[in-house]
Symmetry: C2
Subunit: 517 residues, 2 copies
Amino acid sequence: MKRIFYPMLLLFPGVLFAQEIDMDAMAKIRKEGLDNSKVKEIAHQLTDVSGPRLTNSPGFQRAAEWSVSEMKKWGLTNSRIEEWGEFGKGWQVEKSYLAMTKPYYMPFIGIPKAWTSGTSGPIKGEVVVVNIQNEEDLQKYADGKLSGKIVLIKSTIDTDPTFKPDAVRYTTEDLDKMTNSQPFGQGNFTPEQMEKMRTMRFFRSKVDSTLKTQKIKLELAARSGKHGTFYTSNGASYLGKSPLAGPSFEMSPEHAGLITRLVEDGIPVTLEAESATSFYDKKLTTGNVIAEIAGTDPKLKDEVVMLGGHLDSWHSGTGATDNAAGCTVMMEAMRILKASGLKPKRTIRIALWSGEEQGLHGSRNYVKNTFGDPQTMKLTPAHEKLSAYYNIDNGTGRIRGIYLQGNEGPRATFEKWLNSFSDIIDHPTVTSRNTGGTDHQSFDAVGLPGFQFIQDGIEYNTRTHHSNADTYERLVMDDLKQMAVVVAAFVYNTAQMDLKIARKELPKARGEQGARR
Amino acid sequence: MKRIFYPMLLLFPGVLFAQEIDMDAMAKIRKEGLDNSKVKEIAHQLTDVSGPRLTNSPGFQRAAEWSVSEMKKWGLTNSRIEEWGEFGKGWQVEKSYLAMTKPYYMPFIGIPKAWTSGTSGPIKGEVVVVNIQNEEDLQKYADGKLSGKIVLIKSTIDTDPTFKPDAVRYTTEDLDKMTNSQPFGQGNFTPEQMEKMRTMRFFRSKVDSTLKTQKIKLELAARSGKHGTFYTSNGASYLGKSPLAGPSFEMSPEHAGLITRLVEDGIPVTLEAESATSFYDKKLTTGNVIAEIAGTDPKLKDEVVMLGGHLDSWHSGTGATDNAAGCTVMMEAMRILKASGLKPKRTIRIALWSGEEQGLHGSRNYVKNTFGDPQTMKLTPAHEKLSAYYNIDNGTGRIRGIYLQGNEGPRATFEKWLNSFSDIIDHPTVTSRNTGGTDHQSFDAVGLPGFQFIQDGIEYNTRTHHSNADTYERLVMDDLKQMAVVVAAFVYNTAQMDLKIARKELPKARGEQGARR
């Protein structure tokens, strides 16, 4: 058994520094993760075989059921879908066709916005382009003249050529800058950015609802992206009692630009379109996928280390980097730990969340049901038993370090763990910074240590995150392998520590949380 | 009037060096081109309004007729479509729909291959994936078992993330390297690359024809590209007497990859598809768009300076960078010269070619009809009267210099002209190198000086060249403006020279030329 000794530890003994890394266990994890990797197979099942995975859709259900069954096969215990409450309606696309027929024929790249209804068969008609930048513009179109029309909302989306690569990795300088930066705002955005996004979202939804009252035939909207890539979102609410919204496509900005330039040049544009969508509203509740490796230490086995990522996705691709990547890595980490024959002292529990894309619903409700309510800060006994939660939701890029989320307690421990993988983690980095927009925040909100890893960006922010280009091809398998090994090591080390991971001060009780995005 | 004097010229007087640049004319060209540019309007007409411009298609016809009429409005003379002979059938897409319906629904990005026939209404069926890498593989499928099937030809297309930018400009180092490099091979390819491409093309067409004899229901093939971009080509011959080919789609490699992985995993994949295409075979002949500014010098007005680019395009986009960009720049250069009120000594003639994408047919036939036949090297009297031909067909990127095409004669002249625009040409460069694959080669083939400019690549080789992403949005208007000014200056200077542009030695008569691509 090989063990690394840190000379400093002899000078400054203490809980955080004292514990050695079990290098024999690390070697087993490496071997299983690098030589017998199953990331390709897992990712294929979650993306290609399951398909788009909007919460409560058949695709989500396929992925959840497969994950439960696969983890059972690996010998994990308590593998199940654990209901957390009411999410709302499932939804999926059954037909999507959009093309220009005049002044000439051209097929367009687009898809129905999530939770909108279909066109009830093929429709055809001339397009009206409306330019709605503010309330005043909006009022111009509230007089019924758009009734029965195909309406394109004019947009100004940047489609200029990019002189920066789609795919990037952090440089040493990037990481050093991150090491020294501090937590700010909510996650990755400044308060000003958050406010701007909120305002834009509010206005956009007002435009949608105004157009709805005008009984238009079809709504079209360009989305960001270029070269055939476009980003997707919802066009109506998923809540159980929300009213049906009329048909609405989101589409590539180039094709929307073509329509706009022709119409503004006085050339009539005729489109044909057909969409069909299915709603699944018989069962509005949903669940998270949960599975465990039971702890073996009599004193510690009731304590838990968690790892997870969200299983749900948007609907235009197969949600490969957002977030089959995270689920693949977390499942593979569990598989590695089980297959390596290691006996963790604490119980290790994986959670694959639902409803993340609509507001971290799966993890928020799990935390509320299991550990405590951030609104009241009434905590359960289980709150004391969780050591840490590790999350992956930043795409396919390999791990370069970890965000402390403002919790300086485990810095030295994490540095030690990362450094023990310095052959596969280039320039391992620990930053005090927080990172937002995903499920570790649900744990953080009740004062539980929730962490995300620093990952190379690859194409996450340029091509894949919520886009139609988010397919299996966008996964970098070598990076997924590395991530699974590092996560398995973090989780195992956390399970073996004498003490639980240090915590921040408990947050104060707070009011109802707003929707995340 | 401002004139630039080159001190060297006093030491080495001579025809090539002696002639001063008319800086007053250059100032007029700059002013008209930079302050009153019409590149946006011209490009909009050629792309958005005309649509895809496969030779002899209605889109090509719209673009050609608009160009003729617009150039007449500008006061150009002899503006007309000049017939050059038989090209073959026009063709266009009337309907294009391709989607997966099982194991779940997903709309696919794809389009019928050029000159293939339609599906005669919607079709549906399970996909068979065939892996045909060589003759032996091919024989396996020649026994009728594919009859009536939807067949996807398996491919291995690189869809890895790109860590290089889509859009690039030449660095000073790139250009310096080019200055010193020599002509090689055919155009941009080495003889080995050419041979490999020929072999691949031949085998691919053999696969197509074998599948055709198997009476399959629909052929599908992945094309290069990623993130929604895919490249297009033809699936059958455009020649007048060629037999009809069955329906065939080319599609995004990610969607083809999805089908392939599912089928290879034993999961049946069902597709639905519909294509409709129109053939235009009543008139198989076609023409090039020609227009002139008449020369004014009694002794030189019978001599001609030409400029051009091909007007035809592929069918999945609107052929913006390939090659509405070139046509826009050349038309704008003519407009600038006319609007500036300059009186060129020699006649200036623009040509917008047809049939370039299928083998430089428009320019080859124009040259053959007008100047001489490269096969026999029987030359016409007009051969002696042409000073030079300038071509643009490398996308939207601004001019950085010129390729001499192995003709060292005009080096000093071109250097002087480029340097006089060093404020808008960064690091002006003249290289002896040839560049291939387009219409200046038709002139070069009969010993006439035919040149292309060195242009910044922007997204030409990564995204736009022959792809569905080749739309108006991909044009960099500032670059088109600069190109039009520089081209107008080159053309005007050529028209004013005491002598014609120096020529290379006449090539020897050669046999029939093979198809270019």
